[in-house]
Point group: C2
Chain length 575, copies 2
């Protein structure tokens, strides 16, 4: 008899126990082995939630209910493997150990723990060692005459900074015990990064070759603040990708294990891939002088575009917003933000643009903003700030003897825009989308409480050259939503007469690889010079970067599309 495996690529809000239970009740009509993602029973990442009594009580109640429900089910030929939490409590009810486990759900019998996650990621955004106790043993699962090796997410990754490689340890045990695995099953909650899927497949292929059986990978879908889970579950049979599920969307696929054909002749490559450098997917091309940032492929652009739309919608849905508000400047960043927002809208949603020119805004900025909104069919409000700007200047000149010029004057304009934008947001209940990019954030090229405001940042993980790349991709694939004039004009904050970004910064095609070197490779000044940059520009960039930490500390959440982003996983001293 054929053995059916069903991959459930689920998409639930954190701790949506009702929705999760509903999903379980529905699948249980179908015979076969049902597979659900890591921490399916709670959602991920939970952070301090796992320590809150209200959460613990609710979860334990849910777990007890689920167990009782399964016991009451008639005996049947379905089983389910689901990721969940296991709490070990003191008598006082304080959890002493929390484990990230795989439960088996058996009709007529209930819920039981099969496996505890062995590798707890604790780098970058991951804090699992803060909360969880690791498992100490491999686990196998028998179903339909087959034996399956079990893993949770990080267990599939060897690394130079974990002592243990669970794959190699399982391979050793399989040899010793003479086991014959029909598949390795990995339940995951693995965040999206541009180009990460390729890395996952590569690793999966090697695991499949190592065990000479399919590797079954079930990942969750969800946007948790800045962290995006893309699903894209799959089955690798040796070097062959036998099955792949949707990206950034709930999906379900089943297959018959016996029908899978694979080629397991290759030799697995098991060098540790998770070195610090490998982990942060370096994307600098060092063959050129100076080094350059590798340009995104069309596929990478498509993935990032999908990720941004998904992340925006997840954040809006959970925060209860149906309206969006974007401040246009006539420049590239705000135009791309507006286009992405517009292209992500559902029928019940709307977006409004507001253009707030100052005395330094070029006439072209007005025209290009209008043209952009015409193309996107978005209402544009024109709200000049020159009178308010003049009034603040006059009040200050009367009230204080100090000069009102330079940075003082520049920042007032930016902060007036922030104030007006949020006033408009308060009027309409719209969510303000931030328009800063990663290059700006890295060098502090923004005004705190001015153009840096927003509920969420779409472009905060995209360097300026990537902003241009994505804009061109959208124009090529979505009927030129962005006027060519916006893409072609030089970047300027327009806060002083004739101001251009390039006057105070290296050109972006040099700035961006320097920044990537600093942020992802953590290179020193000497090493950056070795990549072909001048001591002067490297020093300038490092200075700007180091002294703008305080601005990043108060920045909004950034949708994460890279291995190393500003945001939750970025932990540096400020002073």
């Amino acid at each position: 008899m054929a053995t059916k495996l069903i991959l459930h690529q689920t998409h639930h809000t954190l701790a949506d126990f009702e929705g999760i239970f509903k999903t379980i009740r529905e699948f249980s009509k179908v015979d076969g082995l049902h597979l659900f993602p890591e921490l399916f029973l709670t959602g991920y990442p939970l952070q301090d939630l796992v320590l809150q009594r209200a959460f613990i009580d609710t979860y334990l109640g849910f777990q007890t209910g689920l167990d009782a429900w399964a016991r009451a089910c008639p005996k049947a030929s379905w089983r389910a493997l689901l990721g969940g939490l296991r709490f070990e409590m003191e008598s006082s009810g304080i959890p002493t150990k929390i484990k990230n486990v795989i439960y088996e759900l058996v009709p007529g019998e209930g819920l039981r723990v099969l496996y505890t996650k062995r590798l707890l990621p604790n780098y970058d955004i991951f804090d699992e060692q803060k909360y969880f106790t690791p498992g100490t043993a491999n686990a196998y699962y028998d179903f339909g005459g087959h034996t399956f090796g079990l893993q949770i997410c990080e267990d599939m990754w060897a690394s130079s900074f974990h002592e243990l490689d669970p794959c190699e340890d399982m391979a050793r045990e399989v040899r010793e015990k003479n086991l014959n695995l029909s598949a390795v099953i990995n339940l995951s909650a693995s965040p999206f990064e541009a180009a990460k899927r390729k890395k996952r497949f590569e690793r999966a292929k090697n695991i499949s070759l190592l065990f000479e059986c399919p590797f079954v990978y079930v990942n969750r879908v969800g946007g948790e603040d800045e962290i995006l889970f893309d699903g894209a579950s799959f089955v690798a049979s040796g070097a062959r990708l036998s099955l792949e599920l949707k990206h950034f969307e709930a999906d379900e696929r089943s297959f018959e294990l016996e029908a899978l054909t694979g080629d397991y002749q290759g030799k697995p490559n098991f060098r540790p891939e998770n070195t610090w450098e490998g982990l942060f997917s370096p994307r600098i091309d060092t063959r050129t002088t100076p080094a350059t940032l590798k340009s995104w492929t069309d596929q990478e652009c498509a993935d990032v575009f999908l990720a941004l739309k998904f992340g925006l919608q997840e954040y809006a849905r959970k925060s209860g917003f149906r309206k969006f508000l974007v401040a246009l400047s006539g420049g590239m960043d705000s135009a791309l933000v507006l286009a992405v927002v517009k292209l992500s809208l559902s029928p019940q949603q709307s977006v409004e643009a507001i253009y707030m020119p100052s005395i330094h805004s070029a006439p072209a900025s007005t025209e290009l903003s209008e043209e952009l909104c015409r193309r996107l069919r978005i209402p544009l409000s024109y709200f000049p700030i020159k009178f308010l700007h003049a009034m603040v200047r006059n009040s200050f000149t009367q009230g204080f003897p100090d000069p009102f010029e330079g940075l003082v004057d520049v920042n007032v304009q930016s902060r007036l825009r922030g104030l007006l934008l949020y006033t408009r947001s308060n009027q309409t209940g719209a969510m303000v989308i931030n328009t800063s990019n990663k290059s700006e954030l890295a060098v502090g090229y923004s005004t705190q409480y001015g153009d840096s405001v927003g509920a969420i940042s779409l472009l905060g993980d995209l360097y300026k050259t990537e902003v241009y790349r994505l804009a061109r991709y959208l124009n090529e694939n979505f009927g030129d939503p962005i006027p060519a004039g916006i893409i072609e004009r030089g970047p300027s904050a327009e806060l002083r007469a004739g101001q251009l970004d390039q006057d105070s910064l290296p050109p972006y095609d040099r700035l961006d690889p320097i920044l990537e070197g600093i942020l992802s490779y953590r290179l020193s000044k000497t090493q950056l010079q070795g990549l072909g940059f001048s001591a002067q520009e490297v020093t300038k960039v490092l200075e700007l970067y180091l002294k703008s930490e305080y601005k990043r500390a108060q920045f909004c959440p950034i949708l994460k599309v890279k291995a190393k982003s500003f945001g939750f996983g970025y932990r540096v001293p400020m002073t």
Copy 2:
């Protein structure tokens, strides 16, 4: 011959290798055993700095230089135990293991590793398992015919969430090997919390009783963004506190080991103290109905006051500020902030106050602000916002059809103040000190980019009732800097006519224990009701708390004076 131990309670900026080397050169003229804090050679906490190539290269260069310097020293009777980092590298130069160790420095011989920290704290603000590999063995050190047990910071704490208790493990080994310890030495980098010193002494006493010898504790001094290290190094000889060093100030003390007298007759109490609840120093008095927040003692007020002054000055010094700017409202929070800033000033520094009344500001607010500044001898700028407020309102009424009222109107006033405050800050180069308190932050009772702005928050870890308590303490001990009228009037944001905090919130003497229950105990709604609060008020507070996460996410660093604070150690999902 007597054995001299010298405790160096040092105060260096992170990675100030020059200053650190200078300190070492100076002490080396004195014979005896010199003790320095945890990670003395680098500073703490370093976070992602330990992964940056520039930092690694500089540190390794410094370490090599130090080793060479010590080798070149003439043989002498001094030794030093110093906390530092140990990097284990791949051939490519990528660190595979980083250890938090104790080095011994020997004149004529150089630097060698004695001990690796066994317990790596990874809760709350601590991320040590992200970076460091733990040690696996106890270590002992022989000097002057004595044997010393070695520990680093967390090693002294047993806990229900660490598998290992290094004290008990060392006690077992001491018995097995029949060792005779003359002291247990603990090199620490342990952050300040109100009432933590008492807990440290208590634990130290028990360790001293366990080993029947003195416990020598050397802690660092420093303010690292929100985290404050208070020094307060000490020697415990059984239940006796033989020596205590200064609080929040570099200090150095020496003593002769043989001259210490102690009473080691008591029985040590070794139950794990670091349960989740013990760790977060709960301060709710549950004997009353409803439960109340325990009031600070005068000593705790003095400690917190010292901590706030120290933290402010550390942040200002490292950010290069000599001027401070505080927005006064006529209310309690801003008055206390101004008083703390004023009382912390050095002769080269100055503070300016600015009062920005709106149409809703009471005349009493003006008078009280003036009276406050008179008492504190601080210049007060009077900058009414009513014209700007009216102009924004008029522009909006002309530009948009939507009503300009309620929250829209309230927030404009607050944001105008934020804008003007930062404009003034840009004019004078002054650091803006935030005036929010912990109760406000917890319920989101503030305007984003409005009254929530600032470079650093002094009161963000103090509940409103603690703000009043500290104000009264300052008045009693520093000649009434704060007018009684400010302490006695009801709290109000003055953004609507006749607005009082109590109209939309439970009274602070009920709100604060509810918040402490949520934040430090992580209590559920049911449990809070069990403490004597009504379902209605608990639900209201929980709702306000949960929906204001996005405001806290963009808040400035908060000087941490409690075990559980908003800030770096507070990690919760936003949506």
